[in-house]
């Protein structure tokens, strides 16, 4: 094999393996940090925005609009204060809704939330605007005690159509932890009738049933307390107004093609806010506010990542500069053999850029692992389904930046190499 420029560069790098590997790792850590932060920030925001779907407003009795969105859309916890059915009907009739879908969160199955709602949830609400629900297998629920399972819940729990199960009274909080007093409703058996296709939203980890099923379960608990343990199994006929409670309302105003809904939305929003018993949230606004809060910290972390990347550039420079003392003799010999100053300069710059390229590749692999871990943590703790892949545009930008930084870092050692005195360095060592 002929000796090429690559031979000189690769031999130089392999001659000091430890220094080369540590320098590459320094660059890789900075690249991974930067890619995970930039990539996850983008996909995290997308994941949050996706979950709110095509609803305009979310109504609840939670403490704040943000809590309302976190609980009602991302299943962060069970809302504590319900809305009675009469209030729901009043709200439904009072405003120009295209739809107002009641939801109730309070039960779970093996740590996965069960959302009780109406069939409109599947026919009108879209988890991502323009992307309606799709059934992977089976059908949507039609009557009581039928369950439809989100894609991720079905996969994680191994649920299939036709399977029968009982749900737990009590919705999991952060980390999937159930509240005190949670118990399984063995008396009531649900049947899975459908599995949903993935939506990339928090709904994928949930199970869905109709409201009557959930109300019946809780009415049975109420009757056990008031009427004693020997009661007959509760049916929808036993329900009272006090049993018919919901925890949230997904609302969308009537929209017409070419007409902006903003003014009407603001008007309805203000009117609803006048009612102190209702918490009104514009989910997209709440997500934006949440990211505005997080972005300050986010920017600091990204700033730190850039500083780490710059520090890794300095470490490349030092690593190469420190080897120059040992390489002066070799450079002098290469010059005698016919290598020009420009060639020597180019070899050192190539070496520096190669460290940057290797650092980027290792960092990219690290970032993909890191993004998967972060996505898993976000899913476990917040129920947010985040795509752990790194946007190729971001990766390309970071790659260019890293190689450019590495090349700049190689400038000083390359200039030193360029200026090596051939005669002085050819003298026999004393």
């Amino acid at each position: 094999m002929p000796v090429t420029d690559f031979t000189f560069v690769s031999r130089s790098l392999s001659a000091r393996t430890f220094s080369t590997i540590t320098t590459i790792l320094t660059v890789a850590v900075a690249v991974a940090l930067l890619l995970v932060l930039l990539g996850m920030r983008d996909s995290g925001r997308k994941a949050f925005e996706r979950g709110t779907g095509n609803m305009h407003l979310l109504l609840s009795r939670d403490a704040s609009p943000l809590v309302s969105v976190l609980n009602g859309v991302y299943y962060a916890g069970a809302p504590r204060r319900p809305i009675d059915w009469a209030s729901y009907q009043q709200i439904q009739q009072q405003y120009p809704w295209a739809w107002a879908i009641p939801t109730q969160i309070g039960d779970s199955f093996k740590g996965r939330p069960v959302l009780a709602t109406t069939t409109e949830f599947f026919t009108a609400f879209e988890p991502s605007p323009g992307e309606p629900w799709q059934i992977a297998e089976g059908r949507f629920f039609e009557t009581s005690f039928e369950l439809v399972v989100g894609a991720d819940a079905a996969k994680a729990l191994g649920l299939t159509v036709g399977q029968r199960l009982s749900v737990t009274h009590g919705a999991p909080g952060p980390g999937g932890k159930l509240p005190e007093g949670a118990h399984v409703h063995d008396e009531f058996v649900y049947q899975i009738v459908g599995i949903l296709k993935p939506t990339g939203s928090a709904h994928d980890r949930s199970l869905f049933s109709d409201l009557d099923s959930s109300w019946t379960l809780h009415a049975h608990d109420r009757r056990l307390v008031s009427e004693g343990p020997n009661i007959a199994l509760t049916t929808p006929a036993d329900l009272t107004d006090a049993d018919r409670l919901i925890t949230g309302i997904y609302c969308r105003l009537i929209t017409r093609p070419g007409r902006d809904v903003t003014a009407v939305l603001q008007q309805v929003f203000e009117q609803l806010r006048a009612d102190p018993t209702i918490t009104v949230a514009q989910p997209s606004d709440e997500v934006r506010k949440l990211f505005a809060i997080v972005s300050n910290l986010d920017q600091i972390i990204i700033g730190i990542a850039f500083v780490v990347l710059a520090a890794s550039g300095v470490s490349i420079m030092l690593a190469l500069y420190n080897t120059m003392e040992q390489r002066r003799r070799q450079i002098a010999v290469l010059r005698v053999l016919g290598a020009t100053r420009g060639k020597i300069f180019g070899l050192v710059m190539t070496e520096s850029a190669l460290i940057g390229i290797f650092g980027f590749v290792v960092g990219l692999v690290g970032s993909l692992i890191g993004a998967t871990v972060v996505a898993d943590l976000m899913y476990q703790r917040l129920g947010i389904v985040v795509d752990p892949s790194i946007d190729p545009k971001i990766a390309f930008g970071v790659a260019l930046g890293t190689v450019a930084l590495a090349t700049i870092a190689g400038l000083v050692p390359a200039i030193v190499a360029y200026r090596v005195s051939v005669v002085r360095n050819l003298r026999p060592a004393a």
């Binding site: 094999m1 000796v3 090429t4 070799q330 420009g342 026999p428």
Partner: protein, 227 residues
């Protein structure tokens, strides 16, 4: 054919770090194509400096040095480096082989900067190493004896087919017996390849190995050139 080396009215002042200096002056020196010359001088007389001047590594204050008919000091920057790589081979006292490179790679390193087609590099290196009696082409300098390292250095100096080979105290790290063997081999190979050889040494035992010996002092314009 031009002479392999022609020096005229050369002057170079070498300033040492201690503040002292000496001036190297050569009125005339000619080495015809394929000729072999031993340049003798005491330590510090400027032998190595003269080789550096001939190779174009440093510039003289005055005079002309023509290598293969070309005034090397009229060439600037990369052009001079290319010219040196193609027309001048150098052998050093401590061989100066590249650490971490095999014997074959050390020879091919010289070819890397030449216009010799890449397909020929391996063949040319193998041929030279075989001729110089190096069987382990894949051995690194650390795995070779001093004598073998010296022969690899000779192969490297001849790799690009130069008209002129400069040897700077090539036997200094060898014992007297091996020194003579090495010099004879070096001369033989240079003759075979048509390269002129200028060897500088302070070792008087080498005089008998060369048909032409020149004392550096005698090259001073005021002195008598030795034959």
């Amino acid at each position: 054919m031009p002479d392999a080396l022609a020096i005229s009215d050369l002057r170079f002042t070498h300033r040492k770090s201690a503040g002292t200096s000496f001036t190297l002056e050569i009125g005339e020196l000619t080495v015809p194509e394929g000729d072999q010359v031993l340049l003798q001088g005491t330590s510090g007389s400027g032998k190595s400096t003269l080789l550096h001047l001939i190779a174009g590594l440093i510039d003289p204050e005055a005079g002309e040095i023509r290598v293969a008919g070309r005034d090397i000091h009229k060439l600037k920057g990369a052009a001079r480096d290319h010219f040196r790589g193609k027309h001048v081979g150098m052998i050093f006292q401590t061989h100066q082989l590249l650490g971490g490179f095999t014997a074959a790679e050390n020879v091919m390193a010289a070819l890397a900067f030449s216009d010799v087609p890449k397909a020929e590099h391996d063949k040319r290196a193998s041929e030279l190493l075989n001729r110089l009696g190096i069987e382990r082409h894949g051995a690194t300098p650390e795995e070779l004896s001093i004598g073998q390292q010296q022969r690899v250095a000779v192969a490297r100096a001849l790799a690009c087919g130069p008209e002129l080979v400069l040897a700077d105290e090539p036997t200094a790290s060898l014992d007297p017996e091996n020194a003579m063997v090495a010099v004879e081999l070096m001369k033989e190979v240079c003759t075979e390849r048509g390269a002129a050889l200028v060897c500088v040494s302070h070792d008087p035992s080498l005089v008998k190995a060369f048909a032409r010996t020149v004392a550096l002092d005698a090259l001073q314009p005021s002195g008598e050139p030795a034959a």
